[in-house]
């Protein structure tokens, strides 16, 4: 099997030039012709690639698959994630665990991420969005959209959520960004982890004495009560930073670009920024259409599973391509278009599926809803000020697909 795959393009596949919002063609082809197949990845292994919506859901909710990065066969995304998640697995300190251990730790976090609790952050998120727009409108144009709006918004929200001190926010931003890069080596990864963990250790000491109303203080409180250890507190905080930052930055940036590319849908959103139902639908549809987590959910098989006539054996790896699943015509009648009225949109798997589904998804929704409605309400003439949408340096090689900067004017 491995021999046949030598010389093939490594997964994740590259998108075709000039098609920044489309799936790589080989991914679409596989979903249509061989929905469960093998692919070579960076570490020399050849895990399974699952591409259909129903199969992705089935694998991600199957107790015979593991999310523990020490399980034989696990196909890690890159060296950094491998190192970080193996460390978490050894210490049982992160969410990359299975069964009861995972459930126990997740339940420490769930009360901090309820819809009710996160709703209380909405006025603060709105204020952050409005202030960023105030600054944009007061400054020169054209301006870099990512730097002035898409990037600061999630960082300011995650800093609110974790109660990160204002003076630490630059260090935070830099570390979060470096952690997401596939070019970061294993040695650098260890350094970054050590640095960020040390910071959270200091912050934990501070919050023991001066607790705030933030999620980090709540974690410290759980630690003081003996529910979790300091290692848990640090690892969970790192997870929240990584998961909460780059994903949302790029969703704001890429949604804006994709709507420039679809003027009819942009006009519809602009005409309905005060309609929370349409705005919420638009957010779900952009999550589905873009699915920026384009390198798939990684799992290892702990007991043989048959899917679509293929048997995935114990000790093999599996990658669930939720971006391919989110354009599966078997579920979405209009898979390749942006359609705010597609009834099935909410069935998208952009936040994953099964017991590991994103714990921060409601926060992401509130941030994106505030970003979409505020941006298009307050700057209804916003437009791309670069030469071509197709020639921007899209980050195909990053964990989260996106773009680092682009100019806008109004």
């Amino acid at each position: 099997m491995t021999d046949q795959l030598q010389g093939q393009e490594l997964f994740p596949f590259k998108r075709e030039a000039g098609h920044p919002f489309d799936l790589p063609s080989d991914l679409t082809r596989r979903r249509e012709e061989e929905p469960v197949s093998r692919v070579p990845i960076w570490d020399g292994s050849t895990p399974w690639l699952v591409t259909r919506h129903a199969d992705v859901k089935s694998v991600l909710s199957d107790p015979r698959v593991s999310m523990n990065y020490l399980t034989p066969g696990m196909p890690p995304e890159n060296p950094f994630i491998k190192v970080r998640r193996q460390k978490e697995a050894r210490e049982s300190s992160g969410l990359s665990m299975d069964g009861a251990l995972h459930a126990q730790l997740r339940r420490v976090l769930t009360p901090l991420f309820t819809v009710k609790r996160l709703s209380k952050l909405r006025p603060k998120i709105q204020q952050i969005a409005d202030e960023l727009i105030d600054n944009m409108l007061a400054g020169p144009k054209p301006v870099d959209f990512v730097e002035s709006f898409a990037r600061p918004l999630p960082m300011l929200v995650i800093c609110e959520l974790l109660g990160v001190r204002y003076e630490d926010r630059e260090m935070f931003k830099e570390s979060a960004e470096r952690m997401m890069m596939t070019s970061t080596t294993e040695a650098e990864s260890m350094e970054l982890i050590t640095k960020v963990h040390a910071y959270f250790g200091e912050l934990a000491e501070l919050r023991k004495r001066e607790p705030g109303d933030d999620v980090f203080s709540a974690l410290v409180e759980r630690m003081e009560a003996g529910d979790i250890t300091l290692d848990h507190v640090k690892s969970l905080a790192v997870v929240l930073v990584i998961a909460g930052h780059d994903t949302t930055v790029n969703m704001i940036a890429m949604s804006t670009l994709a709507l420039f590319d679809n003027p009819e849908q942009l006009a519809e959103l602009r005409a309905n920024t005060e309609d929370p139902v349409l705005v919420a639908n638009a957010v779900e549809e952009m999550l589905r259409y873009l699915t920026l987590t384009h390198i798939g959910r990684r799992r290892a098989i702990i007991e043989d599973i048959e899917i679509d006539g293929k048997v995935m054996r114990k000790g093999e790896g599996v990658i669930c391509a939720e971006n391919a699943a989110n354009r599966d015509p078997a579920v979405f009648p209009n898979p390749e278009q942006i359609d705010f009225h597609q009834e099935q949109t909410r069935e998208h798997l952009a936040f994953g599926y099964g017991v590991h589904q994103c714990i921060g998804q409601q926060l992401a929704r509130f941030e994106l809803q505030a970003a979409f409605s505020t941006l298009h309400r307050r700057i209804p003439t916003l437009q791309f000020a670069g030469s071509s949408l197709d020639s921007l340096p899209y980050k195909d090689e990053f964990i989260v697909y996106g773009v680092d900067s682009f100019p806008v004017t109004w």
Binding site: S61, T110, P111, V115, Q357
Partner: protein, 73 residues
Amino acid sequence: MESTMEKETVLKVTVDQHKCIGAGQCVIAAPAVFDQSDDDGIVILLQENPSEDARAEVELAAKLCPAAAITVH
């Protein structure tokens, strides 16, 4: 569960709190029927027998639940 026979209810909803992972999908989909506990974020069923009007929302909640913790009978 014979009590449901007393009135003519068409919808019956059950939740498995042991399976629930607190993703909050149900609260967004059908806020009149589902809530989350402040203590552990786990699902609380507000209406065991919601009216027929709520069927679409409740069925969506069951479909979206990532842990398959909601059953519509």
